[in-house]
Subunit: 361 residues, 4 copies
Amino acid sequence: MGNSFGQLFRVTTFGESHGGGVGVVVDGCPPRLELKEADIQQDLDRRRPGQSKITTPRQESDQCEILSGVFEGQTLGTPIAILVRNKDARSQDYDEMALKYRPSHADATYDAKYGIRNWQGGGRSSARETIGRVAAGAIAKKILTQSAGVEIVAYVKSIQDLSAEVDPETVTLEKVESNIVRCPDPVMAEKMIARIDQIRREQDSLGGVVECVVRRAPKGLGEPVFDKLEADLAKAMLSLPATKGFEIGSGFGGALLTGSQHNDEFYQEGAEWRTRTNRSGGVQGGISNGEPILFRVAFKPTATIGKEQKTVSREGEETTLAAKGRHDPCVLPRAVPMVEAMTALVLCDHLLRFQAQCKTL
Amino acid sequence: MGNSFGQLFRVTTFGESHGGGVGVVVDGCPPRLELKEADIQQDLDRRRPGQSKITTPRQESDQCEILSGVFEGQTLGTPIAILVRNKDARSQDYDEMALKYRPSHADATYDAKYGIRNWQGGGRSSARETIGRVAAGAIAKKILTQSAGVEIVAYVKSIQDLSAEVDPETVTLEKVESNIVRCPDPVMAEKMIARIDQIRREQDSLGGVVECVVRRAPKGLGEPVFDKLEADLAKAMLSLPATKGFEIGSGFGGALLTGSQHNDEFYQEGAEWRTRTNRSGGVQGGISNGEPILFRVAFKPTATIGKEQKTVSREGEETTLAAKGRHDPCVLPRAVPMVEAMTALVLCDHLLRFQAQCKTL
Amino acid sequence: MGNSFGQLFRVTTFGESHGGGVGVVVDGCPPRLELKEADIQQDLDRRRPGQSKITTPRQESDQCEILSGVFEGQTLGTPIAILVRNKDARSQDYDEMALKYRPSHADATYDAKYGIRNWQGGGRSSARETIGRVAAGAIAKKILTQSAGVEIVAYVKSIQDLSAEVDPETVTLEKVESNIVRCPDPVMAEKMIARIDQIRREQDSLGGVVECVVRRAPKGLGEPVFDKLEADLAKAMLSLPATKGFEIGSGFGGALLTGSQHNDEFYQEGAEWRTRTNRSGGVQGGISNGEPILFRVAFKPTATIGKEQKTVSREGEETTLAAKGRHDPCVLPRAVPMVEAMTALVLCDHLLRFQAQCKTL
Amino acid sequence: MGNSFGQLFRVTTFGESHGGGVGVVVDGCPPRLELKEADIQQDLDRRRPGQSKITTPRQESDQCEILSGVFEGQTLGTPIAILVRNKDARSQDYDEMALKYRPSHADATYDAKYGIRNWQGGGRSSARETIGRVAAGAIAKKILTQSAGVEIVAYVKSIQDLSAEVDPETVTLEKVESNIVRCPDPVMAEKMIARIDQIRREQDSLGGVVECVVRRAPKGLGEPVFDKLEADLAKAMLSLPATKGFEIGSGFGGALLTGSQHNDEFYQEGAEWRTRTNRSGGVQGGISNGEPILFRVAFKPTATIGKEQKTVSREGEETTLAAKGRHDPCVLPRAVPMVEAMTALVLCDHLLRFQAQCKTL
């Protein structure tokens, strides 16, 4: 349970960090969408470790294979299964972790729930699981672009107290990809890189905030009650590893304002109503209003660090652990494509739901 | 679509603020649970408007009727349908809203999505819809208490910049209910009440933060990937009206720390492992770890206010609107039982899922 | 669990035969469909007991109330809740059934599963539960008619060995409704009525077969694998009380033919391909092919009879039972609108699914 | 959509007959179940073509690989992905089918629905898709055996008019596997084999009936309303390729009896109630009653035959087709493990659902 996401554009991921491989099955994709492995590989390469000095140095090529659902370059309407083989084993690094629980990692809770866990790497809790999400997200993005010109741009907004200046109305993917920390503010990007490089040398780790904007989403996506657009986005984001918070539009800051300060006044732009401000973050009453959808996601610092920490063993003895091997000092640069992918999955699902309920009669 | 919540303990709400009534169908409730209308009415009375000078003065009795699923005081295992009739019409207050969109309300987006809306009150977007949630939550709480002694306490943590001191390990429902703003810090409660009363007289509204703690949740609730416990909680909270943010444990503040500062060290307490700190907020790798589950929800100020605002009409003309009638200057006191209810729904659902997957063999 | 049906046009029924009432919540209905209580009442009246000498003589008025989801005669796109109050109690007839299990009824299995049951009437297993289905089916039929002119006609094909001659291409609702047994072959209808009347006097009961035809269903409804159109129809039919079998097109008789005898040859009719024969029953590879969808459902004789039978008590003692009160000697006439309703639910759900997946791009 | 089955033990299949491969993801499997590829391979080998002269002579090794969810020989509680590579291409046999629709096959309806199809082999409609089901079914069978000693035996009951004598209370897997037609009546098996061999030489095909018995299923599986055990079995069976009918217990024959003839009288066997007859087929009110669950499935003759038939081309021209290559003259021997697998999926899902709802409190 819990390995599927979406109602109509439904993705099911599988795989542990070690074992045969990781991947995804996408069910409900419209037929006759042009799709090739390169479309997917592009985003997988952005998610992949080993891209720069500030991410985990593990070398994983993460080549994807489309197993089904595509024929002569077009989707068939049948499930699209995508597989990425596992390669980088190094299981000797994990021997100690078989016996000791990493603080604030999933080791202990998996054991409590299942009575068993794959202790090589993070097993199912490894960030490697997100390969399936990013692959599915690449397909969702194609559908969103083709159907409505929807554009999704995520970026590192802050690392610790280093906070970037970014205009969500104009920021581009190119700007985001122009540096290794994926922060479109070049001055702050330099500082972030230096800060991460420093913490890496200290065998410690850092957190931060990813911001994401969706432009040109049509009015009408999202459902009134439980499946509000922001509710599904919140779930999508909090389902990513290491996330601790989500806010949309004015967010926690909005709780400080009065109604007359916070409300977004309407005005007409030709035949369309629009809002002058966007404290709603593009969603009102759970439904997109055509303004940019804007939200932020808080990531805690990576749990696995080289510094020695107090912990307990599987057998219930108090001990210490200094994680061997190579760790990711800051997950945020790689989290950017994950946030984009999950956003695309939510929007694509609601696009199909809108089509079903509101375009049949 | 979008009116059901939960996989195994599955609730479906229905109803607009005006029309025959609002209610809920609860499917999947274990049989032979003692249940009577008074169990549900108790929480409905806490959610009800008109309880005090600082909430909306509308007088709604909100008497619930159990239509099915209970026989001689016990649940049957069949769907429990609960109905609350609508009463307080006053539709003349809404005549203007039939034509003009309230800024930051759901009026405009409903029209964009469906091409129709019940403009009396908020229709489906009214907080009245949460009656069904609170009723279902009352049942979920009984199951959680009986099966595992789980205790859920929510309270107003802050109104604007007025922030209460509360110890989540010891705060009690009695403390929360001891004042009309549902803030267990009596000094700050007084200030909050005064602030809300002031904004009410100004025909304006206020936001704030509700905090919620779950004590004695067993280890093992939550799923590794998409249905992480915090992901389902985030969705549950962002599905409540007027919410703009969610954070668990360290939340957005956790993004400022390093891994060695943030990680919760393990220690042994008898045969059980525990954590010395709780920046994880009771959840690790998506699964409860036995520590208190602690999270916060940001509520924006109520959108409907008496002050005049710029807006547009359904016909596309720019105009102004000063909402007639009686408005809720601050939704937070009434949001407390809503947060509790949604928390109970999430936990109860995961309790049943845990039972199914991990206790069958 | 198990009280909802459909993915996109999703209905949830509730209610026992005794208690507050029975009903349904319909989620996913397209907005702006004209709908009034009379549209639903019409089918409920056909399902209602007490219509003639050959059905159960219980007098139930079964007046429906639309509680939500409709505003000024049009659907809102929000959940449509429909309630029918229970009236005809007579619980003294059921006192003995509280203690003794009716053979081939649900009494014993409900107790085995839940450890409790509402022994008044059939409780949740009563045919009264189908009120919610028939009400929802009335809405589904309106959508199917409006969107594509789809027409659903069901009728009694046989009672025991009395088998009617009916042409599914031309049979009309009017023909079906022209007699109390709902068999469009007037000669056989007379014989069926006499047979049922005879068995009624013997305090016994009869079974038979309902046939159903769907005309003008568009090509393309149904999914290739698990949710084949015939698979969903089979589930829908076997979910009705007292059903023992389902067959589509050639059915069990088709197992006697060779491939060259069985295959439906294609030909062109203008720009459209069609089939000369229809042994497929309107579905090929799980997907509708535009020909009439034709299937049959076997109903066993009603389990509750006045004749004395051997059984056991709740306490495990062997005993006998002759059910008191008034029983339905043959469920088939009232099963006709139930079969229509379930057929409409399946088709409407697949219509919306087709729209979502195949009309978005 | 439509490629997943089950609520709690949820399987998602993927793959076309040509392309990278076919397989399944199983979500919700209990942890710590012993599982190795050989457990699955055993059933795949029974499903595989090329086993004997009376099945399709295509040689497919169908070696499965477990990609995830198993660690050191035990399930992890995470998704189990299983992949079988495609091998036997021979696409030149299919060139003509790219242009012409096989009568009574899925070719035309896939094109009508999706506007595209993989015309190599059956694509997604190929019986090869059932590899994923059989693999998942092997896991479900292990769970059922371990948890409750449940035993599932399916067999060929009839080929055309050749009908076997089989005692469902005692028939064994060994008996079924003792001949190539999988009919446990050795005399009739010989006749069936001769009949199939004859039709094979005529380039034609045959249908028949598979019967299945489930022994030692506990009381209480199945849900009262839409998810009745027989409803889910009916859907499961009608989702298999080439099926046209389903009946449980007395089935269509039961429609000929009176209630007093049909009802299964109860008696006590120690502390347990049982029924003397089993016309109910092991299910009453949608819930298993502890007696053997017994049902039959009608299979039409295989659609693809070597004999020339009239048909139309994709471009709308009337033409003829004599399918090239090697065809399966009778799918029934290979359908036996498919029926077992789908039965196991239904029962395992309901076992987990029973555990969740009825064993939590």
